[in-house]
Amino acid sequence: MKQLLILSGKGGTGKTTIAAAMARSLNVKACADCDVDAPNLHLLLNHGGVEERKDYYGLPKAYIDEDLCTMCGLCTEMCRFKAVNVGETTTIDIRTCEGCGLCEEICPSRAIEMRPVVAGDLRLYADPNNGIFSTAQLRMGNGTSGLLVTEVKRQMIDASKGIGFAIIDGSPGIGCPVIASISGVDMVLIVAEPSVSGLSDMERILDTAKCLKTRSIVCVNKADLNSELTARIRDRCREREVPYVGEIPYDPEVIRAVNRGLTLADTECSAGDAVQEIFKKVTELLFGRAAV
C-alpha cells in the first residue's frame, strides 16, 4: 500500500482540508488522522459503518501505596521530572511522571508500583462504501503522542488488506508525533503558506523529512494572499530540488464548505478546481502514472 502523508510544519495551512478533499475525490479507501493532539479529519470524513473503540495505554505511571510509604524521600530526590512531591504524604503528579520507573526500582519499602494508565482513545471505522478510517485522541496533557501515532497507523494498515493507497493527515511541528508519522510512508506532501513564518516552517519540516530519508513534495495554499512569498517558496523548492506541485487560491468558499462538513471535492469553487490539478501531479509522482 502506498502511503501519502500530509504535513506542513506550521499549523493551520490546510492539511486536513486537503487530505479530506483528496480522500473524497480519489475515492481513497484507507485514511488515518495522526494529529492525535487535535484531530479534525473526522469532521469532514464522517465515516459510517462499524466503529471500533479501544483505550490507548501509554507507558505505565507511578502509583504510591501510602500505607507502605515511610516518607524517606529517596524517590523525590531521584526523580528527574519533579513528579514526586513530599508534603504530609508523598504524592505523584501523574501528568509530570514520564513513566521511567526509577522510583519503583529504588523505593526501599516497595511502596511504588507502575500501573497502566489510559492515555487516549483509538477509533477505527470500517465502512463498505467509504473504506477504513483510523483516528485517535490523546488525553489532555499527555506526552506519548509518538506511540499513539504509531498505533493509529498500525490499525489502519492492519485493516486495509488489498487497499493500494492510503492518505494520512499529520500534525503541525517537527517533533515526536511528526517523526512517528513520517516513519514508513512513501511520500510527504507539504502544504505551505505564503508567509515569512510559513517559509521558515516549511524549511524545517523539509529538513526533518530529509533527515528521515523520506521524499517530500510541496504545494502552496492561499497562494494569492502573498504572491511574492509564494514565488519565494517556489524558488526555494527549485533550489532544494523538491517537486512543486501547485497552488491553491484563497477562497472564502472553503470555510463555508468546511463548516457544513463538506470537502472541497463536494463543492464547486476555485480552490476545489485547483486541488484537482495538484492531486493529479501527486498521484503521478507517487505511482508514476495518473491514478484511476
Binding site: 493532539d37 531521584m78 517537527i174 511528526v178
Partner: protein, 297 residues
C-alpha cells in the same frame, strides 16, 4: 510617543508582574500574531516563544543583541572496561534506549528520556551521563520588548527541556507583562507552557476545526484551573462563526474580535507587526489587552 487614554490607564494601574499564555489547540489560528502585537502595545513586556519546533515570533520582533545558550539533556555512556554485561540497565529502561549486543551496550540517544535510572542502578557503576545538545534558547531585545525564543534541533523528538529552560526566567521577578506563545495541540508541551501563568488567552478561528480544538484547550485550562478568555480571530462580518456560538453557549468571555482583513493578513504574511504599522490595529490590540487585564482582574 502618542499614548491613548487606554494605554495611560494600563501604565497608571500598572500590571507589574503577570504571565499571560496564548494558546489555541489548532495551529495557524493566529497565536503568534496576537502575542507579538500584545507584547508591543504593552509597555516593557517580555515575549517568550515556546513553540520550539516551529518558532516564528522572532521573525516578527527581529530581536537584537542576541545571547544564545545551548540546551542539553543528559544521556548515558557505558565504560566497556567496567561493564560486566549483566544487562540490568537494559531490563530497567522503559524507553527502549539501551540494547546489549556484540558484547557491549549500545545507547539510542534519541529514545532516551534522561531519567538517569540506568546510571543510578548499574551494579558496576559503569554508566556515566554526558550532555547532548538538543537545541538552544536565544534572548534579545526588540525595542522595549524582551524576546526569548527556544529552538529545537531538526530530528529531535522532544522539546520539553527547552520549554522548561525558557520558562525558568519566569521565576526572576520583573516588571511588565510576560506573554507566552504556546505550541499548538494540547499535549505535555502546552501544559508545561501554561503551568505558571496567571491568565490564558485562547485564539480561535471561525471554522468547525477551530471550534473543535478550542473545546480541547478549554478543557485543558479548566483542568489546570486557569482563568481564560477567547479571541475570535479571522472573524468575517455576517458569516456564521461556530466558535462564537460555542463561547456564547458555554458562557466563555470573548475578550477580542479580530476581523479577517486583507491588510492585516498581508502585514502578517510579511511578519510585520500590525499595531506598529497602523493606528487602526494599534487601537484594536490595545483594546484586546485592556479586556484581558479587566477579565484577569
Amino acid at each position: 510617543m502618542n499614548w491613548t487614554p487606554s494605554t495611560r490607564e494600563i501604565i497608571a494601574t500598572g500590571p507589574t508582574e503577570m504571565n499571560i499564555a496564548v494558546l489555541s489547540g489548532k495551529g495557524g489560528t493566529g497565536k503568534t500574531m496576537v502575542s507579538v502585537n500584545l507584547a508591543k502595545v504593552a509597555t516593557s513586556s517580555t515575549y517568550i516563544d515556546c513553540d520550539v519546533e516551529e518558532p516564528n515570533g522572532h521573525l516578527y520582533l527581529k530581536p537584537e543583541n542576541l545571547i544564545r545558550e545551548e540546551v542539553s539533556v543528559l544521556v548515558p555512556r557505558c565504560d566497556p572496561n567496567i561493564c560486566n554485561g549483566c544487562r540490568e540497565c537494559v531490563r530497567f529502561c522503559r524507553f527502549n534506549a539501551l540494547a546489549f549486543s556484540l558484547d557491549r551496550l549500545t545507547v539510542f540517544s534519541d529514545m532516551c528520556h534522561s531519567c538517569g535510572g540506568c546510571s543510578a542502578i548499574c551494579p558496576q557503576e559503569a554508566i556515566t551521563e554526558h550532555p547532548r545538545m538538543i537545541g538552544y534558547v536565544e534572548s534579545g531585545q526588540s525595542g522595549d520588548v524582551c524576546v526569548r525564543t527556544g529552538v529545537m534541533n531538526i530530528g529531535e523528538a522532544a522539546g520539553l527541556p527547552i520549554i522548561t529552560r525558557l520558562l525558568q526566567s519566569l521565576s526572576v521577578p520583573k516588571k511588565g507583562i510576560t506573554f507566552i506563545d504556546c505550541p499548538p495541540g494540547s499535549s505535555c508541551s502546552v501544559m508545561e507552557s501554561i503551568k505558571n501563568t496567571d491568565f490564558c488567552v485562547l485564539v480561535t478561528e471561525p471554522t468547525v476545526f477551530g471550534t473543535h480544538d478550542l473545546d480541547l484547550v478549554v478543557e485543558l485550562v479548566s483542568i489546570l484551573d486557569k482563568p481564560f478568555g477567547v479571541i475570535l480571530n479571522k472573524n468575517i462580518e455576517g458569516e456564521l462563526n461556530p466558535s462564537e456560538e460555542y463561547c456564547l453557549k458555554k458562557n466563555i468571555p470573548i475578550i477580542g474580535r479580530i476581523p479577517f482583513d486583507r491588510e492585516l493578513s498581508s502585514l502578517c504574511s510579511e511578519a510585520r507587526i500590525a499595531s506598529e504599522e497602523s493606528a487602526r490595529f494599534k487601537e484594536l490590540f490595545q483594546n484586546v489587552l485592556n479586556n484581558i487585564l479587566e477579565t484577569a482582574g
